[in-house]
Amino acid sequence: MRETLRTRLGWLHGWAGFVAGLLAACIFMTGTLSVFDTEITRWMQPENRVPAKTALTDTALDAASSLIHEQQLHGVPVFLALPSVRSPTLDVLHYDGRQFVGTRFDPRTGMPIPVRATMGGTFFFSFHYTLLEGVTGTRIVNIIGVALLVAIISGTVIHIRALVPDIVRLRLSAARLRGWLDAHLLAGVLVLPFTVMIVYTGVLVNAGLILPATSLAHLLAPEKPGTPATSGTKAATAARRPLPPLAPLLAIARCSLQGRDAGFILFSPDHLSIYASDASGPFLTRDHADFSLPDGRLLGATTTPGPVAHAMQVMHGLHYARFAPLGLRWLYFVSGLCATATIASGLVLFLMKRRSRSGHRIGFRVGESLTIATLTGLPISILAFLWCNHLLPASMAGRERLETGCFLGIWILCTGHAGLQSSRLHMNAAWRPQLRLIGLLGGGLPVLDVLTCPRAVYALPALHTALDGMGLLAAATALYVRHRLGSDRT
């Protein structure tokens, strides 16, 4: 390969990787946490101690039906999330403009569970794909995804000669730059299939927001079968009557959806739709069975046929991983951590290579403080968010807004601290205290959990051990890196 091509691709890889990497690290970090978003929500609502695989009773369904009917009369568009292996409660939810809120029912007794208001694990999920900026944020995330694909392809071409021979090469005892480069290449090459898959499917999931051809595709698409039309008077009459028993409808829907379990139920004034569970397979569909109201008569099942639809369904399924059993979910988590480490090591390498030449420049110092804010500031704010959840009084009004405020406030403080230290040209002065703080907050998470929610820890030990373990892992990694920074005399 001509050296000029390698040099140009090196420039492209460096700059595209650094600019996109600052946001990509945040997207990957929160995306990795989103693999366990439901579990994080359960950790953040210790009042919910319903064990997994609890059987759903008719009593609970009736209790949920009554609440749904009541909310329908008030004109609130609600849906019913059915219990699953990951979330065993029966949830009557509606969208309040920021997140899904509502009442959780015990699937055994049908009693409402008085859980604390929290942003929960869905906060990380929202951050992952919107950066808390709605549709604009999703567009930015998609553009970053495309830039990341460019960085991955250029990086692979640069490294192609040594890709296979050096696949398990890591020289920790070599010079500092060589060690970081080996770590970057090792993590990058070994998780390359996962990274390409997750970035490509992620871009494809919301491609409609950045591709102008979407409107044309809508024009050419075949018409969807319409929802059964009912006159306004009939719909209003149906909404006033109580809902039919849901258990028999679930059994009929299961047959209509080729034996797949139901995931959630959407309610309209004149009909209800039972949707197949996302966990029923790698094809993430919105197949559903419709029933008329109030008599509960089956109107028909809607499935999406065709190879293009199936291809898109599998892309969604691979990215969201809702079909994945626990073991595969952990593999997604570990691969996500490795991909985050690849981006993080790339950011550090970019700065290290330019420090001697451009270390005094304002642009370099801004880049360095942004890198510190991303790599240590974000984990600190994530941990502060979790601490805030356990420390704020459970019955406090507006506590979910405070959790978000705490997350953003701490992140801004970390960025300010990094900016201040970088402007004084103190190389490790910002890294070290922030890494120490991660060690403190992460290491203290299990202690906080046991002290503030002992009953939840006792009732769901596996879930709490796993999440507290993640805190310990973050702490151990941060303290190890801090130790390496301290012992580094180069």
């Binding site: 021979p165 090459v189 070994l190």
Partner: protein, 85 residues
Amino acid sequence: MTFPATFLLWLMAFSCHARLHPHRYGFAPLAFHARHMAITGRIAAPVVALALAARLDGVTGVLIWFASLSIAGLCMALWLASRHH
């Protein structure tokens, strides 16, 4: 049980790979017969792992095969690095 088996097979493949590049990974060069064995192991182990993983549902099997590649590779790299360190 699929993941542990594919993980071990990938570990075997990576160890054969490391033995086939003695200068890079700091091993003594292999004899002719042992070199052939290592080449066979490097090819056969991932194929057997794929056959094992394919017994599961298609998508899950492929995901497990790639994930075991990544994790086994990382473990092998850490072991090789600690050996030199």
